[in-house]
Symmetry: C2
């Protein structure tokens, strides 16, 4: 139809004032309206196909029923499940999701977040946090509910929904130790991100805990969480430590870069050197060999971030909580018994 139906149309049709119609249509105020009047208004609204104008409502209530999510690289398959979880959980409560993609090469990534703030989103979910993130501090003064997802920050205290990296790396290291590996290396992620740093620290802690040698020579940091930096880091690591029989990579892309490095050095993944990854991205199970990877329930992570945000938007003094989701290890062909 051409013209949209407004509350005035509904009120006229039901024979009441717009304020009565508004009260009849809203759950929280319906009880002060006579039941017969309520029935007439609801029937008129349904017949006319009425939907409230979100801008008019939002201007008055100071709520947009939208949340924003900021993703560092929406092309990275890691974020699809997180977005799906967030969108689904928010949708259940009647919220819509504005998405913004910063990307590493964005000229002014902070402007992306500011745009969402100016859009008056009711809350923000940020997947972009770095460990020393100045923008988060600035956002804190804005009094807008924020939840971090996947990574956290050390700059300020904010609610964060994360994977349990300590447990996840533990699964990988223990799995390799159970296969007889003692010379285990780590291709670490960038230490400016909490995911890079925590997986590195977890690796060191688990190696020490299991009585295995971790003196720093068995760790090499990749510049970024991508295949090529993983390849470069893995080569350096294996050149420095040719004795290593297993490598724990801080994510799947680094692991696949490690595959390439192993092959370039004339060895076989899984047979000569075992490799584990992290995230259990789509298709890593179809690699040759399938990648043993720490699986984080990312969709659930997204949903939990949304639920936390919804709680914090309703609360006048939101809790700063940190939730860590329990990972599992998907064991595949890239890990095998230590060669003798």
């Amino acid at each position: 139809m051409g013209q949209r139906t407004t509350l005035k149309d509904v009120a006229r049709e039901a024979g009441v004032h717009t304020s009565t119609a508004s009260r009849a249509l809203n759950d929280l105020t319906r009880s002060v309206v006579n039941a017969d009047t309520v029935a007439r208004v609801l029937e008129a609204a349904d017949r006319l196909g009425y939907a409230p104008h979100p801008l008019a409502r939002g201007l008055r209530t100071n709520q947009t029923m939208t949340a924003g999510i900021v993703i560092p690289d929406v092309e990275n398959p890691l974020f699809g499940p997180i977005i799906a979880g967030v969108e689904s959980a928010l949708g259940e409560d009647g919220y819509s999701l504005l998405i913004a993609n910063t990307e590493r090469h964005h000229p002014d990534p902070d402007s992306v977040i500011r745009t969402l703030v100016e859009r008056r989103v009711d809350g923000l979910i940020l997947a972009t946090a770095t460990r020393d993130d100045a923008l988060l501090e600035l956002l804190m003064s804005r009094d807008i509910p924020i939840v971090l997802v996947n990574r956290t920050t050390e700059r300020v205290d904010l609610p964060a929904i994360l994977g349990d990296d300590y447990a996840g790396i533990g699964l990988a290291v223990e799995h390799l130790e159970a296969l007889g590996h003692v010379a285990i290396g780590h291709v670490a992620g960038p230490q400016s991100l909490s995911t890079g740093r925590e997986r590195h620290d977890a690796f060191m802690a688990w190696m020490n805990k299991l009585g295995l040698v971790a003196d720093g020579s068995n760790v090499e940091e990749a510049d970024w969480f991508q295949v090529d930096p993983g390849y470069v880091a893995a080569r350096k690591l294996m050149q420095r430590r040719p004795d290593l029989t297993a490598i724990v990579a801080a994510n799947d892309l680094l692991a696949l870069g490690t595959y390439k490095a192993i092959r370039d050095m004339g060895q076989r993944v899984g047979d000569d050197i075992s490799v584990t990854g992290y995230n259990d991205m789509p298709l890593v199970d179809l690699m040759e060999p399938g990648l043993t990877s720490v699986r984080v329930p990312y969709r659930e992570m997204g949903a939990e971030a949304a639920r936390r945000l919804l709680l914090n938007m309703r609360s006048s003094s939101p809790e700063v909580t940190e939730v860590r989701l329990t990972p599992k290890l998907a064991i595949r062909g890239s890990t095998g018994l230590v060669a003798t």
Copy 2:
């Protein structure tokens, strides 16, 4: 800061009426305001950190400066580049992007689209079209600009930004023919989607054009664009036609399912049977062997859909155009000379 700055504050600070301040701040009306007054208003706005309230503005102008994008499965890595392209192009024009994910198992996928319409998005980009899509017809009566992306529909005439499936399948079939293959099969996608249907039709057309046999026995439709349905369809195909030396799959997941089927039948991908895929998803290059795949510029597809939507939002009589993006073939180890 606590309270937000409004136009009243800026007007007071600059010593003018709010209407003058509004005109001074807006590009289209600035020219009717005296230059000295403009300078004072701009300076006040900057000093007070003023940003217009989008709801107030939108209520009056009947524009939200938002567009909606509806994705059938945001966890599918295919859609990340499309979203990235859309978000980037819209952002350049000051638009924000609301994202909704329908998912195949959503109880009421149409409600997701209706919610965006009720949100008064200025336009919609739909990646969800099926060939016979009743909701699109309903949406047409709403007078909201729509652009289809990745898939099109036969139900109504709508602008669509697509891959050139005819050219893409042609690249694959010609490549295989050049390698000496004559017995080529097709693992088709679901025919209810334009991508499934068009790639199937393109395959038949190219086989006929090259004088190769395509009698229907060399085609098997997968129920969905996933690995397992691809596996099932590939097995059926190879059981029915054991002579096939090459298979053109309608997307990468079907291709990877075909890999599994080939291996289960004791043969080697690339050596015994060549396989091509479509989309060139992340990680298919790292498969063993790397998948030869038709690469569609999905990020550019998203950006073009956004540009088309922006044009149509500005136009009172938008063109129904169909743009097809030229694919390329990424040649890898999954295709080789026909075995003799």
